[in-house]
Amino acid sequence: MILKYSKTAALVLLLAAVTTTLQAQVKKTTLSKKKVAVTKVSSGSASLKASMARGKVVFNNICATCHQADGLGVPRMNPPLAKTTYVLGDKTKLIGIVLNGFNEDVEINGDRYSNIMPAHDYLKDQQIADVLTFVRNNFGNKASAVTLTEVKKVRATKKS
């Protein structure tokens, strides 16, 4: 795994040298083959792709148990993560849901979901940025990455 990551990182650094755009509009299917758009996540060493790869690990370990591996949730209980404004909309709100949990009835595309989501404030800021970037660019979703800075900002609000 480490070897795989360092390989990816090297490729990303190379691309970063010629690609200055910070857009995150990346097609999942073409990610590995075509020109990769890079977003500076933190120290500049992490690319969108690397963030997505780390986010996938977090998703499978933490989120998939309720939201399921395909991100489509469980009818009546656990909401889907595909094509909903909760995931694709305001990033501050989305980060807040991960940090504080979610304890409201939610209606998405006419269906109601009622199970509680516990707070995940034990996750590291980077893990939250990674998993949300992964979720926002999977299951048919396409949206900008979530950065470490953005997560830190919401975490600071939570504490105050």
Binding site: A69, V74, R76, I116, P118, A119
Partner: protein, 423 residues
């Protein structure tokens, strides 16, 4: 389990045979009649008699062949859908009701229905038709329905009582519900008003908690319940707790957590305690095991005062329908046995999901006797759809028709299946 394997090997052969037989017998097949794509034992046929009814939960059938279905639709006037059974197809007769919910039972000239908060009843005429669909009588009101387990299943006895399940609004009474590693609240406060079965009068309007009695406690959530006429006792199916491995990976791996704890069948007496949240039943060790939120490690036993289940099934398969078969159409072995609709799991990932079938549990003298078997399978659509949990259909409610046919509802696409037997 051996029996189950043999059965699953034979099922495709049986299904093919059944289909040929079915087609040969039909002289003038109605357009909507369709082989349901289910596998059922030899001699049985399965038809889809209605489709697209929305979230079709529980079901009741009258001697006149009318079918009442309680939906969890939010659509106006479609809280209860009434069909008429024409044999291999059904036509919509009327709809009414503006509340979503789950339960549907006919008893002593009334149609009983539940929302997530209340129990209603509608008076029936001599033909078992609802007299005033717009003005049901509210029998029980103000029941707790919070995050988890809101559905209010109920059953009625022969002495004028109704038994309403009030599901626990929690997975395992943790201080922080569903939080990794969070411990259980001592003297779980949820049990005061939920996590059990409450007994009310079946004919007294506007009863609240103070009018009822907590009949049994320590039940996490129940959707399938039925009164057993043979031994005049309440039976129900508990949905066992979720996420052992996810919450406490130091004691369980994913494989164990997919199978544990058991989905339990309980036969209840007044005052019984089934042990939630302090213990769960392990169907492999045949023991009541202390829950990890209360110091358990998968081996320590507990629940000395809690009752044992009368039957136990693999974990997370979500038994949503329970019916005691009293008809004469099916072969003798089914008489007084139980059919259980397993809605199917979501909580087995990353292991494959399981369930999405109707099980038959043989009974003798009012108690489970012998190994359960899969009676009707194939609701999911394919093995891949079953494994991923993306089932095309999920069986939920069960009813017995006047001729002894078995009806099954599906709350994904709103299909109604009719399973019949011909010698």
């Amino acid at each position: 389990m051996k029996k189950k394997k043999v059965l699953s090997l034979l099922l495709p052969v049986m299904a093919a045979g059944g289909l040929i037989l079915f087609n040969a017998l039909k002289s003038d097949p109605p357009k909507k009649a369709a082989d349901a794509g289910l596998t059922v034992p030899t001699g049985f046929t399965a038809n889809v008699i209605a489709e697209n009814l929305g979230v079709a939960r529980h079901i009741a059938v009258t001697p006149q062949g009318d079918i009442y279905i309680k939906t969890d639709n939010s659509k106006p006037n479609r809280g209860i859908i009434v069909l008429h059974d024409n044999g291999t197809t059904a036509t919509e007769k009327t709809t009414f009701g503006n509340f979503s919910g789950t339960e549907m039972v006919i008893k002593n000239g009334y149609l009983y229905a539940s929302s997530d908060y209340d129990v209603y009843r509608y008076k029936l005429n001599a033909n078992n038709e609802v007299i005033d669909p717009n003005n049901p009588e509210k029998i029980v009101t103000g029941l707790i329905a919070r995050r988890d387990h809101r559905a209010k299943a109920f059953a009625l006895d022969n002495d004028g009582n109704i038994y309403v399940n009030i599901g626990a609004y929690s997975n395992s009474c943790q201080i922080k519900d569903r939080q990794k590693g969070s411990l259980g609240i001592p003297n779980c406060p949820i049990l005061d008003s939920a996590g059990g079965v409450w007994q009310f009068k079946a004919d007294k309007p506007n009863q609240t908690y103070k009018d009822g009695t907590r009949y049994a406690t320590g039940l996490r959530n129940v959707v399938g319940m039925a009164w057993n006429q043979q031994d005049n006792q309440l039976f129900l199916m508990q949905h066992g707790r979720d996420q052992l491995a996810y919450m406490f990976p130091e004691h369980w791996d994913n494989k164990q957590s997919a199978l544990l704890p058991a989905e339990c069948m309980y036969a209840l007496k007044k005052g019984d305690n089934a042990g939630w949240p302090y213990i769960y039943y392990d169907q492999i060790q045949h023991k009541k095991i202390l829950a990890p939120e209360y110091g358990g490690d998968g081996k320590k036993t507990g629940g000395e005062n809690a009752i044992d289940p009368v039957a136990a099934y693999p974990g997370h398969m979500a038994p949503n329908g329970l019916l005691f078969y009293t008809g004469s159409q099916f072969p003798e072995k089914y008489k007084n046995g139980a059919f259980i609709a397993f809605h199917g799991s979501w909580n087995r990932a990353p292991e494959p999901q399981e369930g999405y079938f109707v099980v038959f549990q043989p009974f003798k003298n009012g108690k489970p006797d012998g190994q359960w078997e899969v009676f009707a399978d194939g609701f999911a659509g394919s093995p891949e759809k079953k494994a991923s949990g993306r089932a095309d259909h999920k069986p939920c409610g069960l009813a017995q028709g006047p001729d002894g046919s078995l009806y099954v509802t599906d709350d994904v696409k709103g299909s109604v299946y009719k399973i019949s037997y011909k010698k």
